[in-house]
Protein backbone atom coordinates (compact mmCIF):
# COMPACT_ATOMS: atom_id res chain seq x y z
CA UNK A 1 0.00 0.00 0.00
CA UNK A 2 2.72 2.48 0.95
CA UNK A 3 4.56 1.64 -2.25
CA UNK A 4 1.41 2.31 -4.27
CA UNK A 5 0.87 5.61 -2.47
CA UNK A 6 4.40 6.63 -3.26
CA UNK A 7 4.05 5.62 -6.91
CA UNK A 8 0.82 7.58 -7.13
CA UNK A 9 2.42 10.70 -5.73
CA UNK A 10 5.15 10.50 -8.35
CA UNK A 11 2.67 9.86 -11.14
CA UNK A 12 0.41 12.71 -10.05
CA UNK A 13 3.30 15.18 -9.84
CA UNK A 14 4.30 14.18 -13.35
CA UNK A 15 0.80 14.07 -14.90
CA UNK A 16 -0.42 17.31 -13.36
CA UNK A 17 2.88 19.22 -13.71
CA UNK A 18 3.09 19.92 -9.99
CA UNK A 19 6.70 20.97 -10.32
CA UNK A 20 6.77 22.87 -7.05
CA UNK A 21 5.98 19.70 -5.09
CA UNK A 22 8.08 16.73 -4.04
CA UNK A 23 6.74 13.32 -3.00
CA UNK A 24 7.50 14.16 0.63
CA UNK A 25 5.49 17.35 0.52
CA UNK A 26 2.25 15.67 -0.50
CA UNK A 27 0.22 14.25 2.37
CA UNK A 28 -1.62 11.07 1.38
CA UNK A 29 -4.54 11.92 3.62
CA UNK A 30 -5.12 15.53 2.60
CA UNK A 31 -7.87 16.44 0.13
CA UNK A 32 -6.60 16.47 -3.47
CA UNK A 33 -9.02 19.16 -4.60
CA UNK A 34 -9.99 22.52 -3.23
CA UNK A 35 -7.18 24.12 -1.25
CA UNK A 36 -3.89 22.30 -1.04
CA UNK A 37 -2.61 21.27 -4.46
CA UNK A 38 -4.93 23.70 -6.22
CA UNK A 39 -6.32 21.12 -8.62
CA UNK A 40 -9.28 21.83 -10.91
CA UNK A 41 -11.71 19.94 -13.15
CA UNK A 42 -9.15 19.45 -15.93
CA UNK A 43 -6.79 17.89 -13.37
CA UNK A 44 -9.59 15.52 -12.36
CA UNK A 45 -9.89 14.46 -16.00
CA UNK A 46 -6.13 13.95 -16.17
CA UNK A 47 -6.38 11.70 -13.12
CA UNK A 48 -9.01 9.64 -14.95
CA UNK A 49 -6.56 9.21 -17.85
CA UNK A 50 -3.84 8.26 -15.36
CA UNK A 51 -6.06 5.58 -13.80
CA UNK A 52 -6.73 4.00 -17.15
CA UNK A 53 -3.20 4.27 -18.47
CA UNK A 54 -1.37 2.98 -15.39
CA UNK A 55 -3.91 0.70 -13.75
CA UNK A 56 -6.40 -0.28 -16.45
CA UNK A 57 -9.30 1.27 -14.55
CA UNK A 58 -11.86 2.97 -16.77
CA UNK A 59 -14.12 5.64 -15.29
CA UNK A 60 -16.93 6.65 -17.62
CA UNK A 61 -18.58 9.09 -15.28
CA UNK A 62 -16.47 12.05 -14.18
CA UNK A 63 -18.80 12.41 -11.17
CA UNK A 64 -17.43 9.12 -9.87
CA UNK A 65 -14.04 10.81 -9.63
CA UNK A 66 -15.32 13.02 -6.84
CA UNK A 67 -15.44 10.06 -4.43
CA UNK A 68 -12.26 8.39 -5.61
CA UNK A 69 -10.08 11.50 -5.72
CA UNK A 70 -10.77 12.53 -2.13
CA UNK A 71 -7.20 11.85 -1.13
CA UNK A 72 -4.28 9.83 -2.41
CA UNK A 73 -4.97 7.15 0.18
CA UNK A 74 -8.61 6.80 -0.92
CA UNK A 75 -7.42 6.64 -4.52
CA UNK A 76 -4.85 3.97 -3.65
CA UNK A 77 -7.48 1.88 -1.91
CA UNK A 78 -9.76 2.15 -4.91
CA UNK A 79 -6.93 1.11 -7.24
CA UNK A 80 -6.07 -1.89 -5.07
CA UNK A 81 -9.65 -3.08 -5.20
CA UNK A 82 -10.21 -2.46 -8.91
CA UNK A 83 -6.92 -2.61 -10.79
CA UNK A 84 -6.71 -4.62 -14.00
CA UNK A 85 -2.93 -4.90 -13.95
Amino acid sequence: MEKLINDLKEQIIEALSLEDYSVEEINADEPLFGEGLGLDSIDALELIVLLEKNYGIKLNDPEKGKEIFKSIRVLAEYINANRAF
Binding site: D40, S41, I42, L45, I48, V49, P62
Partner: protein
Protein backbone atom coordinates in the same frame (compact mmCIF):
# COMPACT_ATOMS: atom_id res chain seq x y z
CA UNK B 1 -20.62 59.09 -36.25
CA UNK B 2 -21.22 55.38 -36.13
CA UNK B 3 -22.71 53.80 -39.24
CA UNK B 4 -25.63 51.39 -39.20
CA UNK B 5 -24.66 47.83 -40.11
CA UNK B 6 -27.00 46.04 -42.50
CA UNK B 7 -27.22 42.42 -43.56
CA UNK B 8 -27.84 41.74 -47.23
CA UNK B 9 -27.08 38.06 -47.65
CA UNK B 10 -26.40 34.84 -45.83
CA UNK B 11 -25.34 31.30 -46.48
CA UNK B 12 -25.47 28.15 -44.40
CA UNK B 13 -24.38 24.53 -44.61
CA UNK B 14 -24.82 22.01 -41.82
CA UNK B 15 -26.11 18.54 -41.13
CA UNK B 16 -29.68 19.77 -41.66
CA UNK B 17 -29.22 21.31 -45.08
CA UNK B 18 -26.98 22.56 -47.85
CA UNK B 19 -28.66 25.95 -47.99
CA UNK B 20 -31.18 28.19 -46.25
CA UNK B 21 -34.25 26.52 -47.77
CA UNK B 22 -33.28 23.03 -46.65
CA UNK B 23 -32.23 24.33 -43.24
CA UNK B 24 -35.55 26.05 -42.68
CA UNK B 25 -37.48 22.96 -43.81
CA UNK B 26 -35.57 20.72 -41.37
CA UNK B 27 -36.08 23.17 -38.51
CA UNK B 28 -39.81 23.37 -39.11
CA UNK B 29 -40.08 19.60 -39.46
CA UNK B 30 -38.18 19.35 -36.16
CA UNK B 31 -35.80 16.93 -37.82
CA UNK B 32 -32.32 16.60 -36.36
CA UNK B 33 -29.25 16.10 -38.51
CA UNK B 34 -27.36 14.30 -35.77
CA UNK B 35 -26.84 10.66 -36.73
CA UNK B 36 -24.30 7.87 -36.55
CA UNK B 37 -21.05 8.90 -38.20
CA UNK B 38 -20.96 8.09 -41.93
CA UNK B 39 -18.45 10.32 -43.72
CA UNK B 40 -15.58 10.72 -41.29
CA UNK B 41 -13.38 7.65 -41.18
CA UNK B 42 -13.26 6.43 -37.59
CA UNK B 43 -13.32 3.18 -35.66
CA UNK B 44 -16.06 4.54 -33.40
CA UNK B 45 -19.04 3.45 -35.52
CA UNK B 46 -21.64 4.52 -32.97
CA UNK B 47 -20.43 8.09 -32.66
CA UNK B 48 -23.31 10.56 -33.00
CA UNK B 49 -22.39 13.64 -35.01
CA UNK B 50 -23.99 16.37 -37.05
CA UNK B 51 -22.22 15.64 -40.32
CA UNK B 52 -22.79 17.47 -43.57
CA UNK B 53 -24.29 14.67 -45.63
CA UNK B 54 -21.88 14.72 -48.55
CA UNK B 55 -18.35 13.57 -49.23
CA UNK B 56 -15.55 16.07 -49.82
CA UNK B 57 -15.49 15.01 -53.46
CA UNK B 58 -19.21 15.63 -53.94
CA UNK B 59 -19.05 19.07 -52.33
CA UNK B 60 -15.98 19.94 -54.39
CA UNK B 61 -17.73 18.78 -57.56
CA UNK B 62 -20.77 20.94 -56.85
CA UNK B 63 -18.42 23.90 -56.53
CA UNK B 64 -16.50 22.91 -59.66
CA UNK B 65 -13.31 22.45 -57.69
CA UNK B 66 -10.89 19.86 -58.99
CA UNK B 67 -9.61 18.11 -55.86
CA UNK B 68 -6.87 16.35 -57.81
CA UNK B 69 -5.12 19.52 -58.85
CA UNK B 70 -6.06 21.55 -55.79
CA UNK B 71 -5.68 20.75 -52.13
CA UNK B 72 -8.78 22.08 -50.39
CA UNK B 73 -9.76 20.78 -46.97
CA UNK B 74 -13.32 20.02 -45.92
CA UNK B 75 -13.73 23.07 -43.70
CA UNK B 76 -12.81 25.34 -46.62
CA UNK B 77 -15.19 23.49 -48.96
CA UNK B 78 -18.04 24.04 -46.51
CA UNK B 79 -16.96 27.65 -46.14
CA UNK B 80 -16.91 28.24 -49.89
CA UNK B 81 -20.40 26.75 -50.21
CA UNK B 82 -21.86 29.06 -47.55
CA UNK B 83 -19.99 32.17 -48.70
CA UNK B 84 -21.20 31.56 -52.25
CA UNK B 85 -24.83 31.39 -51.10
CA UNK B 86 -24.37 34.57 -49.07
CA UNK B 87 -22.79 36.50 -51.94
CA UNK B 88 -25.48 35.29 -54.35
CA UNK B 89 -28.26 36.47 -52.08
CA UNK B 90 -26.58 39.84 -51.63
CA UNK B 91 -26.26 39.98 -55.40
CA UNK B 92 -22.54 40.55 -55.21
CA UNK B 93 -20.85 39.55 -58.43
CA UNK B 94 -18.11 41.87 -59.53
CA UNK B 95 -17.61 44.04 -56.48
CA UNK B 96 -14.05 44.11 -55.24
CA UNK B 97 -12.53 45.30 -51.95
CA UNK B 98 -14.72 43.13 -49.79
CA UNK B 99 -13.28 42.20 -46.42
CA UNK B 100 -13.45 38.58 -45.31
CA UNK B 101 -13.54 37.85 -41.58
CA UNK B 102 -13.64 34.17 -40.76
CA UNK B 103 -13.60 32.15 -37.60
CA UNK B 104 -12.04 28.74 -37.37
CA UNK B 105 -10.07 26.72 -34.86
CA UNK B 106 -9.54 23.28 -36.26
CA UNK B 107 -8.53 24.85 -39.57
CA UNK B 108 -7.21 22.37 -42.10
CA UNK B 109 -6.87 19.63 -39.52
CA UNK B 110 -9.00 17.22 -41.59
CA UNK B 111 -6.30 17.18 -44.25
CA UNK B 112 -3.51 17.04 -41.71
CA UNK B 113 -4.88 14.02 -39.92
CA UNK B 114 -5.52 12.06 -43.10
CA UNK B 115 -1.85 12.39 -43.92
CA UNK B 116 -0.45 12.46 -40.43
CA UNK B 117 1.39 9.15 -40.45
CA UNK B 118 2.93 9.96 -43.83
CA UNK B 119 4.17 13.26 -42.54
CA UNK B 120 5.87 11.52 -39.70
CA UNK B 121 7.63 9.04 -41.96
CA UNK B 122 8.63 11.62 -44.52
CA UNK B 123 9.51 14.05 -41.75
CA UNK B 124 7.92 16.80 -43.78
CA UNK B 125 6.41 19.02 -41.15
CA UNK B 126 6.18 22.04 -43.37
CA UNK B 127 3.79 20.37 -45.74
CA UNK B 128 1.38 19.57 -42.97
CA UNK B 129 1.48 23.11 -41.73
CA UNK B 130 0.50 24.32 -45.16
CA UNK B 131 -3.15 23.33 -44.84
CA UNK B 132 -3.04 22.94 -41.12
CA UNK B 133 -2.88 26.52 -39.95
CA UNK B 134 -6.20 28.16 -39.41
CA UNK B 135 -5.23 31.04 -41.66
CA UNK B 136 -4.81 28.84 -44.70
CA UNK B 137 -8.42 27.75 -44.47
CA UNK B 138 -9.56 31.38 -44.88
CA UNK B 139 -7.11 31.89 -47.71
CA UNK B 140 -8.49 28.91 -49.61
CA UNK B 141 -11.99 30.35 -49.38
CA UNK B 142 -10.78 33.76 -50.50
CA UNK B 143 -8.88 32.23 -53.41
CA UNK B 144 -12.09 30.75 -54.77
CA UNK B 145 -13.70 34.14 -55.16
CA UNK B 146 -12.40 37.28 -56.82
CA UNK B 147 -14.00 39.67 -54.42
CA UNK B 148 -11.89 39.82 -51.30
CA UNK B 149 -9.15 42.33 -50.66
CA UNK B 150 -8.47 41.70 -46.99
CA UNK B 151 -8.67 38.70 -44.67
CA UNK B 152 -8.96 38.42 -40.91
CA UNK B 153 -8.89 34.96 -39.36
CA UNK B 154 -10.27 34.79 -35.85
CA UNK B 155 -9.58 31.82 -33.62
CA UNK B 156 -11.35 31.94 -30.27
CA UNK B 157 -12.58 28.34 -30.04
CA UNK B 158 -16.37 27.95 -30.12
CA UNK B 159 -17.14 31.67 -30.27
CA UNK B 160 -14.86 32.27 -33.31
CA UNK B 161 -17.59 32.92 -35.87
CA UNK B 162 -19.56 35.18 -33.53
CA UNK B 163 -16.42 37.22 -32.93
CA UNK B 164 -15.79 37.35 -36.67
CA UNK B 165 -19.26 38.89 -37.06
CA UNK B 166 -18.53 41.38 -34.26
CA UNK B 167 -15.29 42.46 -35.97
CA UNK B 168 -16.99 42.69 -39.36
CA UNK B 169 -19.70 44.81 -37.77
CA UNK B 170 -17.12 47.17 -36.28
CA UNK B 171 -15.41 47.53 -39.67
CA UNK B 172 -18.68 48.76 -41.20
CA UNK B 173 -19.69 50.79 -38.16
CA UNK B 174 -16.42 52.70 -38.25
CA UNK B 175 -16.54 53.26 -41.98
CA UNK B 176 -13.41 51.18 -42.53
CA UNK B 177 -15.22 48.89 -44.97
CA UNK B 178 -18.41 48.97 -47.03
CA UNK B 179 -18.99 45.25 -47.47
CA UNK B 180 -17.77 42.50 -45.16
CA UNK B 181 -18.45 38.79 -45.32
CA UNK B 182 -18.21 37.34 -41.81
CA UNK B 183 -18.86 33.99 -40.18
CA UNK B 184 -17.07 30.72 -39.73
CA UNK B 185 -16.54 27.18 -40.93
CA UNK B 186 -15.45 23.98 -39.28
CA UNK B 187 -15.27 20.33 -40.28
CA UNK B 188 -15.42 17.33 -38.00
CA UNK B 189 -12.02 15.88 -37.27
CA UNK B 190 -10.86 13.03 -35.09
CA UNK B 191 -8.51 15.57 -33.60
CA UNK B 192 -11.18 17.55 -31.80
CA UNK B 193 -13.67 14.68 -31.40
CA UNK B 194 -11.04 12.89 -29.33
CA UNK B 195 -10.23 16.10 -27.52
CA UNK B 196 -13.85 16.61 -26.49
CA UNK B 197 -13.99 12.94 -25.56
CA UNK B 198 -11.05 13.46 -23.19
CA UNK B 199 -12.98 16.34 -21.63
CA UNK B 200 -15.86 13.87 -21.09
CA UNK B 201 -18.53 16.28 -22.30
CA UNK B 202 -19.67 14.33 -25.38
CA UNK B 203 -22.94 12.46 -25.06
CA UNK B 204 -23.43 9.03 -26.63
CA UNK B 205 -27.12 9.84 -26.91
CA UNK B 206 -28.76 12.68 -28.83
CA UNK B 207 -27.96 15.91 -27.01
CA UNK B 208 -30.71 17.50 -24.91
CA UNK B 209 -29.95 21.19 -24.48
CA UNK B 210 -31.44 22.82 -21.37
CA UNK B 211 -32.95 19.54 -20.19
CA UNK B 212 -32.50 18.44 -16.60
CA UNK B 213 -31.19 15.06 -17.72
CA UNK B 214 -28.77 16.39 -20.36
CA UNK B 215 -25.60 14.32 -20.68
CA UNK B 216 -23.37 16.35 -22.96
CA UNK B 217 -22.98 17.57 -26.51
CA UNK B 218 -22.79 16.05 -29.98
CA UNK B 219 -20.23 17.62 -32.30
CA UNK B 220 -21.21 18.87 -35.72
CA UNK B 221 -19.77 20.63 -38.74
CA UNK B 222 -20.71 23.23 -41.28
CA UNK B 223 -20.41 26.88 -42.18
CA UNK B 224 -22.43 30.04 -41.79
CA UNK B 225 -21.60 33.45 -43.25
CA UNK B 226 -23.43 36.75 -43.52
CA UNK B 227 -22.86 39.76 -45.75
CA UNK B 228 -22.59 42.98 -43.75
CA UNK B 229 -23.01 46.25 -45.58
CA UNK B 230 -22.94 49.99 -45.01
CA UNK B 231 -25.78 52.34 -45.86
CA UNK B 232 -23.62 53.98 -48.49
CA UNK B 233 -23.03 50.67 -50.20
CA UNK B 234 -26.75 49.76 -50.07
CA UNK B 235 -27.57 52.98 -51.86
CA UNK B 236 -24.88 52.72 -54.48
CA UNK B 237 -25.72 49.09 -55.24
CA UNK B 238 -29.47 49.73 -54.95
CA UNK B 239 -30.09 46.68 -52.78
CA UNK B 240 -32.49 46.17 -49.90
CA UNK B 241 -31.23 44.91 -46.56
CA UNK B 242 -32.70 41.85 -44.81
CA UNK B 243 -32.18 43.26 -41.32
CA UNK B 244 -29.42 44.85 -39.32
CA UNK B 245 -26.91 44.00 -36.61
CA UNK B 246 -28.03 46.19 -33.74
CA UNK B 247 -25.98 44.95 -30.80
CA UNK B 248 -22.92 42.94 -29.94
CA UNK B 249 -20.82 42.17 -26.93
CA UNK B 250 -17.79 40.12 -26.00
CA UNK B 251 -16.72 39.50 -22.41
CA UNK B 252 -14.42 37.17 -20.58
CA UNK B 253 -15.68 34.90 -17.83
CA UNK B 254 -12.10 34.86 -16.40
CA UNK B 255 -12.96 31.80 -14.35
CA UNK B 256 -11.64 28.61 -15.91
CA UNK B 257 -10.28 27.42 -19.27
CA UNK B 258 -13.15 25.08 -20.06
CA UNK B 259 -15.74 25.48 -17.31
CA UNK B 260 -18.13 28.40 -17.00
CA UNK B 261 -18.57 30.26 -13.73
CA UNK B 262 -21.59 29.29 -11.67
CA UNK B 263 -23.16 32.74 -11.95
CA UNK B 264 -22.55 32.92 -15.68
CA UNK B 265 -20.73 36.25 -15.32
CA UNK B 266 -19.15 36.14 -18.79
CA UNK B 267 -22.40 35.31 -20.62
CA UNK B 268 -24.24 37.91 -18.54
CA UNK B 269 -21.72 40.64 -19.39
CA UNK B 270 -21.72 39.73 -23.10
CA UNK B 271 -25.55 39.84 -23.34
CA UNK B 272 -25.71 43.04 -21.29
CA UNK B 273 -23.13 44.75 -23.47
CA UNK B 274 -25.04 43.71 -26.60
CA UNK B 275 -28.28 45.17 -25.20
CA UNK B 276 -26.52 48.41 -24.22
CA UNK B 277 -24.96 48.72 -27.63
CA UNK B 278 -28.35 48.18 -29.28
CA UNK B 279 -29.92 50.69 -26.85
CA UNK B 280 -32.54 48.05 -26.12
CA UNK B 281 -34.06 46.94 -22.87
CA UNK B 282 -34.09 43.26 -21.95
CA UNK B 283 -37.86 43.36 -22.57
CA UNK B 284 -37.29 44.11 -26.25
CA UNK B 285 -35.67 40.77 -27.03
CA UNK B 286 -38.20 38.32 -28.51
CA UNK B 287 -36.00 35.27 -28.89
CA UNK B 288 -32.59 33.97 -27.88
CA UNK B 289 -30.84 31.36 -29.95
CA UNK B 290 -28.95 29.76 -27.07
CA UNK B 291 -25.39 28.61 -27.02
CA UNK B 292 -27.09 25.59 -25.39
CA UNK B 293 -24.52 22.88 -25.97
CA UNK B 294 -26.26 20.28 -23.83
CA UNK B 295 -23.39 19.97 -21.34
CA UNK B 296 -24.33 20.12 -17.65
CA UNK B 297 -22.08 23.13 -17.12
CA UNK B 298 -22.99 25.35 -20.10
CA UNK B 299 -26.73 25.02 -19.85
CA UNK B 300 -26.70 25.72 -16.14
CA UNK B 301 -24.50 28.84 -16.36
CA UNK B 302 -26.10 30.23 -19.51
CA UNK B 303 -29.56 29.76 -18.01
CA UNK B 304 -28.59 31.46 -14.79
CA UNK B 305 -27.10 34.40 -16.71
CA UNK B 306 -30.33 34.72 -18.73
CA UNK B 307 -32.43 34.55 -15.58
CA UNK B 308 -30.32 37.32 -14.03
CA UNK B 309 -30.67 39.60 -17.03
CA UNK B 310 -34.16 38.95 -18.42
CA UNK B 311 -37.34 39.51 -16.46
CA UNK B 312 -39.61 38.75 -19.41
CA UNK B 313 -41.44 35.50 -18.71
CA UNK B 314 -42.62 35.42 -22.35
CA UNK B 315 -39.05 35.28 -23.62
CA UNK B 316 -38.64 32.49 -26.15
CA UNK B 317 -35.41 30.52 -26.28
CA UNK B 318 -34.12 27.42 -28.03
CA UNK B 319 -30.86 25.74 -28.87
CA UNK B 320 -30.55 24.65 -32.48
CA UNK B 321 -27.53 22.56 -31.58
CA UNK B 322 -30.11 19.82 -31.07
CA UNK B 323 -30.37 19.82 -34.91
CA UNK B 324 -26.87 20.65 -36.11
CA UNK B 325 -24.75 19.41 -33.22
CA UNK B 326 -22.16 21.75 -31.78
CA UNK B 327 -20.37 23.05 -34.85
CA UNK B 328 -17.68 24.61 -32.63
CA UNK B 329 -16.02 27.55 -34.43
CA UNK B 330 -18.75 27.67 -37.06
CA UNK B 331 -21.59 27.70 -34.55
CA UNK B 332 -21.77 31.49 -34.21
CA UNK B 333 -22.12 31.78 -38.01
CA UNK B 334 -24.60 28.94 -38.42
CA UNK B 335 -26.73 30.08 -35.51
CA UNK B 336 -26.63 33.72 -36.58
CA UNK B 337 -28.01 32.68 -39.97
CA UNK B 338 -30.72 30.60 -38.26
CA UNK B 339 -31.56 33.53 -35.96
CA UNK B 340 -31.80 35.93 -38.90
CA UNK B 341 -33.92 33.50 -40.93
CA UNK B 342 -36.25 33.21 -37.95
CA UNK B 343 -36.40 36.98 -37.59
CA UNK B 344 -37.16 37.85 -41.20
CA UNK B 345 -39.35 34.84 -42.04
CA UNK B 346 -41.23 34.84 -38.73
CA UNK B 347 -40.73 31.32 -37.47
CA UNK B 348 -39.00 29.76 -34.45
CA UNK B 349 -37.36 26.36 -34.15
CA UNK B 350 -38.21 24.03 -31.27
CA UNK B 351 -35.51 22.87 -28.88
CA UNK B 352 -35.32 19.11 -29.49
CA UNK B 353 -34.77 16.63 -26.67
CA UNK B 354 -36.25 18.80 -23.97
CA UNK B 355 -38.43 17.22 -21.27
CA UNK B 356 -37.98 18.87 -17.91
CA UNK B 357 -36.49 22.14 -16.73
CA UNK B 358 -33.19 22.65 -14.96
CA UNK B 359 -34.41 23.57 -11.49
CA UNK B 360 -31.71 26.12 -10.77
CA UNK B 361 -33.08 28.49 -13.44
CA UNK B 362 -36.40 27.03 -14.49
CA UNK B 363 -36.08 28.04 -18.14
CA UNK B 364 -38.34 26.16 -20.51
CA UNK B 365 -37.18 26.32 -24.11
CA UNK B 366 -39.57 26.23 -27.10
CA UNK B 367 -41.17 22.77 -27.21
CA UNK B 368 -43.03 23.04 -30.51
CA UNK B 369 -41.78 25.13 -33.36
CA UNK B 370 -43.68 28.29 -34.29
CA UNK B 371 -44.60 28.32 -37.97
CA UNK B 372 -45.56 31.99 -37.79
CA UNK B 373 -44.54 34.50 -35.18
CA UNK B 374 -43.82 38.22 -35.10
CA UNK B 375 -40.28 39.04 -34.08
CA UNK B 376 -38.43 42.33 -33.93
CA UNK B 377 -35.20 41.66 -32.10
CA UNK B 378 -33.40 38.32 -31.70
CA UNK B 379 -30.26 37.48 -29.79
CA UNK B 380 -27.69 34.83 -30.62
CA UNK B 381 -25.28 33.52 -27.98
CA UNK B 382 -21.90 31.94 -28.60
CA UNK B 383 -19.46 30.96 -25.87
CA UNK B 384 -16.02 29.46 -26.19
CA UNK B 385 -13.28 27.88 -24.13
CA UNK B 386 -10.93 30.37 -22.59
CA UNK B 387 -14.03 32.05 -21.15
CA UNK B 388 -14.64 33.86 -24.44
CA UNK B 389 -18.33 34.82 -24.47
CA UNK B 390 -20.13 36.66 -27.26
CA UNK B 391 -23.65 37.77 -27.91
CA UNK B 392 -25.19 39.33 -31.03
CA UNK B 393 -28.53 41.08 -31.58
CA UNK B 394 -30.24 41.22 -34.98
CA UNK B 395 -33.17 43.57 -35.56
CA UNK B 396 -35.76 44.17 -38.23
CA UNK B 397 -35.45 47.51 -40.00
Amino acid sequence: MNQQVYITGMGIVSSIGFNKEETKASLLKEKTGIEKVAYLSTIDENLLVGEVKQSDEAIAKSLKINTESQLVDRASLLGIKAVKEALDEADIRDEADIVFVSGTTVGGMSTTEKNYSNYLSSDDLNKSIMTHTCGSSSEMIVDYFNSFSEIYTVSTACSSAANAIILGTRLIEQGKADIVVAGGCESLTKFHINGFKSLMIQSNELCRPFDKERKGLNLGEGAGYIVLESDKSLKSRKVKPLCRVSGWGNACDAYHQTAMSEDGNGPYAAMKEALDKAKLSEKDIDYINLHGTGTPNNDLSEGIAIKRLFSNSELLVSSTKSYTGHTTSASGGIESVISIMSLINGFLPANLGFNSVIEEHNIEPIKNSFKTVNLKHVMCNSFGFGGNDSSLIFSLI
